[in-house]
Symmetry: C2
Subunit: 174 residues, 2 copies
């Protein structure tokens, strides 16, 4: 099937948001999505964007059987830094609508991020995967990625909500 991979524009925010919600539903955490479509507009397409995005699009005749979507996949990424290895690119999301899987679109999106990363002088592509999502884990391992949590013992840590406000005030409670 023909498809194109291109940089997302402001006009794609509606579809990116739709697919973020589809992905969250697939990961069984749709109640965890706190952003709205307008946040994507503001955070991704203003002067100093917090993320960048690429879109996979199919031609008219291959629109999705349900609702007729032509934007069928996306990836969201941003540039990051490792104090050991230097510039890196972080892939926050990679999603292809179920109907369009198995056609190389996910691989093409990820390949594009690798290209963009290398072009920007990055040495690493980093991302997170949920340990129950064996299908995704197997896909990433097949692409030459390795598990830093298992391999080096990296744990992802987070501070948010009232704990983040307490920390900012210099008054952390536990």
């Amino acid at each position: 099937m023909d498809y194109t991979i291109r940089a997302a524009t402001l006009e794609d925010c509606k579809d990116i948001y739709r697919m973020i919600m589809e992905l969250a539903k697939h990961e069984k955490v749709s109640d965890q999505v706190k952003i709205a479509q307008r946040d994507l507009v503001q955070d991704g397409f203003s002067k100093n964007p917090f993320f960048q995005s690429i879109i996979a699009e199919v031609p008219e005749q291959h629109r999705s059987s349900k609702d007729g979507h032509s934007k069928v996949g996306f990836a969201l990424y941003f540039f990051a830094y490792s104090s050991w290895k230097g510039r890196s690119v972080y892939m926050e999301d990679l999603y292809v609508m179920p109907e369009y899987r198995g056609k190389g679109i996910g691989k093409a999106l990820m390949s594009k991020i690798a290209q963009l990363g290398l072009a920007a002088g990055c040495n690493q592509l980093n991302f997170a995967v949920l340990n129950w999502n064996k299908e995704s884990m197997d896909f990433y391992l097949s692409q030459g990625c390795w598990d830093v949590t298992t391999g080096l013992g990296y744990h992802c840590m987070r501070c948010e909500g009232p704990a983040l406000e307490d920390l900012a005030r210099g008054d952390p409670k536990n």
Copy 2:
């Protein structure tokens, strides 16, 4: 002990690099540091920096007993994005020289990053910790942070070196 926390400047790169090497040595991975001081200059202090940094500095009379350093701690961070929660700040490094620990400097550096994150509209502070580093893990937990790897099953994944080049070419080998 008096100390100040301030944004790093180009002139701090020498000390940031020194402390990155000290931290890597503490984490038993100094051979893993592939960047040079000039990379910090280029990547952190050019027009579109890949990271930002803050420095902890002590007055003249409290210079370090070895080598007389007054820049005794630093944190390196960048802005990131969660497609569920929106803007976030990522703390790549947090380090205080051993001689200056237990005086609240690490907590003050981390608090400053939380302040900068909240001021930029971030909802989360994220970072990674090595699972054998119980001292750091306990510190972070005491600051109201939680372990996303243990709690949600997040695994950090990485693609680098020849695998990243293969991926960019659309020709991943495993």
